[in-house]
Amino acid sequence: MSETAVIIETIVKAVVVLSVVAGMGAFATWIERKVLAFMQRRLGPMHVGPYGVLQLAADGIKLFTKEDIIPQNALKPIFVLAPIVAATSAFVAMAAIPYFPEFTVFGYTVHPIVSDINVALLYVMGVASVGIYGPLLAGMSSANKWSLLGAARAVVQILSFEVVSGLSVLAPIMMIGSLSLIDINDFQSGGVTNWLLWKQPLAFLLFAIAGFAETNRSPFDTIEFEAEIVSGFATEYSGMRWGLFFVGEYANMITIAVLVSIIFMGGYNPIWFIPGAIVMLLKVSFWIFLFLWVRAAWPHVRPDQLMWVCWKVLMPLALVNILITGIVLV
C-alpha cells in the first residue's frame, strides 16, 4: 500500500468519524428532547420541520451566528481556549475506538478505526480525561463566582470518578490480557453469553455509574445544575463557545456509550442474524436512551453525597473486585 493511499484513507476515516459523531451528537440533542418530552407527557419540539426534527438546524444557526460575548474581567486567552479544549479532547479520544467490524468495499478492506493503538483503552480514557481542563479553565477564567463553583465541582467530580472508572476496568483487562479495544471485542465473540457483563457484573455497574458521573449526566449533573449554581462553569458562555462545551459533552456521552458496549456488552460481534455494525448502533442507542431515561426518572444528588458514594462505596468495591478477579484468575 502506498504512503498516499494510507494518508488519504486516514483523513477520510477521521473526517467520517468526526462528522458521524458530530451528527449523532446533534441528533442526540433532538432525541433527548423528544424522549424526555414523551416521558414527561408533552410533545417537545414540534414546529420546525416534521416533528420538530429541523430544530437541530435552527439551533445550529442560532449558535453559529450568536454574538460573541466575553465578560469584562475575564482572562480572555484562557476563556477562549477552554471550550476548544473540551471539544478537541472529546474528538481526539474517538480516534482509537473501533466502531464497526472491518468490511470490504470494492475489494478494499476498511478497518473502521482511525488509529489502531494497542493500548487503545488507556488512550481513550487518558485523552478523554484531558477534557476536564475545559470546565476547569472556563470556570477559573470567567471571573464569575458561579463559574468558579462549577469548576470546583467539575474537577472534584470528574477526577474522583476517573479513579473509579480506572479501577473498574482493571478487572476485565486482567481477564483479557490486553488493552486493545479490538482484542477486548474479540474476546467476547460468540454470542450474548460471552459478554463480559456476566463475568464482571460489579465492574460493569461501577463503570456505568462512573460513566454517568464523568459525562455529567443526571443524577450526577451537579456541575452545571441550574437551580443551584446557575450554569456552573458555562455561566458566562454563550453562542458557539457554549455550543462547543455542549458538543464535547455529547461526544463524551457517545464515547462512554461505545466503550461500555465494547468492554462489557460484546462490542460489534454479530448476534444471530444481526450484523455487527447494527448491533453496535443498537447498543449505543440503548445507552444513550438509558442516559435520558435516568435523567427523566431521578432527582440528582448533592455534590458531597456524590463524593461519599465515590470514595466510600464505589472505590472500595472496585478494589475488592480486582482482588477477587486476581484470586480467581491465578
Binding site: Q40, R153, D221, E226, A227, E228, V230, A296, P299, Q305
Partner: protein, 556 residues
C-alpha cells in the same frame, strides 16, 4: 381568657378599647408580653402593625402599635395596643418573639416608629435610599422616588460573621443567591457567605416586589381591593379573596348564604391544592426531578381551565365579593371538577411513585433544612411549614369557619420539620382537600350566592339593567363602596401557606382606613437563615423551595 381575668393579672392597669384590643402603656409592653406569653400561653405572635390616626381620631395619640397574638390552643386571639408619644419609640420585643424582628422592621420602614434594642432596625420592604415612611397618612402618594443603588448587605453580614467567630473574611466567598437566580422563585435575595460550598451565614433581602398593596388599599373601596388581593399569593388567588372578604364580612357582622359558603369551601380547597402543586413541582425541579414538574403542572392546567370557565380568569380570579361570590357554578361544573380532581390525584400518585421510595430523594430531603417546633412557633411560622414540625395547628379545625367542623378530614403533621416533612405534608393536604371538596359537592345546598342586603351586596345585572332601584343601588355601592362600621378588626383563614389574616381599620366610609395583611410567607422567610446555615447551597435551594415563599405576598 376572659377580660376580668386579664384585668386582675395586670392589676387594672390595662383596659379594653371598643375594638377589643387591650391598651397597654408603652413602658409596660415588654412585661405585658412576657406574662401573656409565658403565663397565659399566647405563644404565637401573629403580626405586628401600626396605625396612623392622623386623619381619623388623633385625640389620644397619632400612632399606635398593635400586637396580635394567638393562644397555644390556636383558637383565641389577643390584641394589644400601645399608643405612642411624640418620641415615636417603643421597646423591641424581639427578645420574646423572633417573629417581631421583621415585623418591627416593617413598622419602622412604613411608619417611622423606632424600636429600642432591635438587633437590626433597617428598612425591609422599601429601598434603602427611600425617603419618608409611606404608610403615614401625610405621605404624598403621588411622590415618585427613584432608587438605584444596590445594598451590598455587608452592614448585616459583618456583625453576623463576627458573632460566629470569623475575624477576617479572606477564606469566605460572598455570593448572592437571587434576586435573579433560577431557584429564587420570584425575586428574593439571599446573600450568603460560603466556606467551600457550606453556607456560613445568610442575610435575606426582600422587597423587590413591593408595590404598596397596603397603601393602595387605603384609596379603594372594599370591593375594589379584591383584585389587589389576587396578587398577594398568586398561586392561590382565591384564598386571598376569601380571606379578605371573610374579614370584611366579619366587620359588617353578616354571614353569607349557605351556598356561597360551600362555594368558598370548594373553590378555596381547589386553590389550596393547586398552590401545593406549584410548590411541590417547583421544588422537585430544584432537585433535578424534572419529570414530576409536568406530572404536577398538567393537572394544575386543567384546574385553571375550570377556573377560567367559572371566574373568567386563570390566575387572578377576583371571584369573591363582599357578601358572597360573583358567579354561581356553571352548567357542567361538576363533571369538570371531577375530571380535574382525578387529574390532580393521578399527578400526585405518579409523582409519589417516582420519588416516594427513591433513595436519592430521601437523602436530599431528609434532615435538611430542619426547623424545630418551638423555634417555628417563636418565628411565627404557620400552615404546612408549622405542621411539618409536628404542631397540628390548622385554622379550619382550631377555629372553624364556613362549616369546616362539619367536614371529615385529617390534618397531616410531620415529625422532624425537615424538607421531606414539608413536602409530604403538602402531598397529603392535597388529598385531604380533594376529600373535602367531594364531601362539599355532595352536600352543597341550593340558594343565593350573595347576601340579600342591598347595602352590602351588589345587585344582579338583571336588576341593574331593568330597574331604577338596581341602577341606583349599583351606583351607590360602586362609587361609595360598602359602608363598614368604624372598627379595628383582625380575622384570618387558613391560607395555602398558613394563617392568612387581615387587620382592617375602618372609619365608617366605603374605603378602609388601613389594611394590613398578615402574609404567612413573611414569617417563614425570616426563618430561612436559621434553616440553611451550616448546610450547602443545594440544601439552601431546597429549603427555600419547601417553605413556598411567594414574592407577591412576601413583599406586598
Amino acid at each position: 381568657m376572659t377580660v376580668k381575668n386579664f384585668k386582675t393579672l395586670f392589676e387594672n392597669r390595662y383596659f379594653i378599647e371598643d375594638s377589643g384590643a387591650f391598651i397597654v402603656e408603652k413602658s409596660n409592653i415588654l412585661d405585658a408580653l412576657h406574662v401573656i406569653k409565658n403565663r397565659d400561653n399566647y405563644t404565637l405572635l401573629l403580626d405586628m402593625t401600626a396605625v396612623d390616626y392622623l386623619k381619623k381620631d388623633s385625640s389620644k395619640a397619632r400612632f399606635a402599635v398593635i400586637y396580635i397574638l394567638r393562644h397555644s390552643d390556636f383558637s383565641q386571639i389577643l390584641m394589644l395596643k400601645v399608643y405612642l408619644d411624640a418620641t415615636l419609640t417603643l421597646p423591641s420585643v424581639t427578645s420574646l418573639f423572633k417573629s417581631a424582628n421583621w415585623a418591627e422592621r416593617e413598622i419602622w420602614d412604613q411608619y417611622g416608629i423606632q424600636f429600642q434594642n432591635h438587633p437590626n432596625l433597617k428598612r425591609i420592604l422599601n429601598h434603602k435610599e427611600f425617603i419618608g415612611h409611606p404608610l403615614c397618612k401625610d405621605y404624598p402618594i403621588t411622590q415618585g422616588q427613584l432608587c438605584t443603588k444596590t445594598d451590598d448587605l455587608m452592614d448585616e453580614m459583618t456583625p453576623l460573621l463576627k458573632s460566629k467567630g470569623y475575624e477576617n473574611f479572606e477564606d469566605l466567598m460572598f455570593l448572592n443567591l437571587g434576586p435573579a437566580h433560577p431557584a429564587s422563585h420570584g425575586t428574593i435575595r439571599n446573600f450568603v457567605a460560603l466556606e467551600g460550598e457550606t453556607i456560613v451565614s445568610t442575610v435575606s433581602e426582600i422587597g423587590y416586589l413591593h408595590r404598596g398593596f397596603e397603601k393602595s388599599c387605603e384609596n379603594h373601596t372594599y370591593n375594589q381591593i379584591i383584585p389587589y388581593t389576587d396578587r398577594l399569593n398568586y398561586c392561590s388567588a382565591i384564598l386571598n379573596n376569601i380571606a379578605f372578604a371573610h374579614t370584611v364580612e366579619g366587620m359588617l357582622g353578616v354571614e353569607i348564604p349557605q351556598r356561597a359558603q360551600y362555594i368558598r369551601v370548594i373553590i378555596g380547597e381547589l386553590s389550596r391544592a393547586i398552590d401545593h402543586l406549584v410548590c411541590l413541582a417547583a421544588m422537585l425541579v430544584d432537585m433535578g426531578a424534572l419529570t414530576n414538574y409536568w406530572y404536577l403542572y398538567n393537572p394544575r392546567e386543567s384546574v385553571y381551565t375550570l377556573l377560567s370557565k367559572l371566574t373568567g380568569a386563570r390566575l387572578t380570579n377576583s371571584y369573591m365579593r363582599i357578601g358572597g361570590v360573583s358567579r354561581d357554578f356553571y352548567e357542567g361544573f361538576e363533571e369538570d371538577l371531577r375530571y380535574s380532581l382525578k387529574d390532580i390525584q393521578k399527578g400526585v400518585g405518579d409523582t409519589l411513585k417516582l420519588i416516594a421510595h427513591n433513595r436519592i430523594f430521601h437523602d436530599r430531603t431528609q434532615n435538611v433544612g430542619i426547623i424545630k417546633k418551638d423555634e417555628a412557633l417563636n418565628r411565627g411560622i404557620t400552615g404546612p411549614n408549622l405542621r411539618a414540625c409536628g404542631i397540628a395547628y390548622d385554622l379550619r379545625v382550631a377555629k372553624p369557619y364556613y362549616g369546616y367542623d362539619t367536614f371529615d378530614f385529617n390534618i397531616p403533621i410531620g415529625s422532624t420539620g425537615d424538607v421531606y416533612d414539608r413536602m409530604m405534608v403538602r402531598f397529603e393536604e392535597i388529598e385531604q382537600s380533594i376529600y373535602i371538596i367531594k364531601q362539599a359537592m355532595k352536600r352543597i345546598p341550593k340558594g343565593d350566592i350573595m347576601l340579600n342586603n342591598h347595602s352590602i351586596a351588589l345587585p344582579s345585572k338583571q336588576s341593574v339593567y331593568t330597574s331604577i332601584e338596581g341602577v341606583m343601588n349599583q351606583f351607590k355601592l360602586i362609587y361609595e363602596g360598602v359602608k363598614v362600621p368604624s372598627k379595628e378588626y383582625y380575622d384570618a383563614i387558613e391560607g395555602a401557606n398558613g394563617e392568612l389574616g387581615f387587620f382592617i381599620v375602618s372609619d365608617g366610609s366605603g374605603t378602609p382606613y388601613k389594611v394590613k395583611v398578615r402574609p404567612p410567607c413573611f414569617y417563614a422567610m425570616s426563618a430561612l437563615p436559621s434553616m440553611i446555615e451550616g448546610g450547602m447551597i443545594a440544601d439552601a435551594v431546597l429549603s427555600l423551595g419547601s417553605l413556598n415563599i411567594i414574592a407577591g405576598e412576601l413583599d406586598r
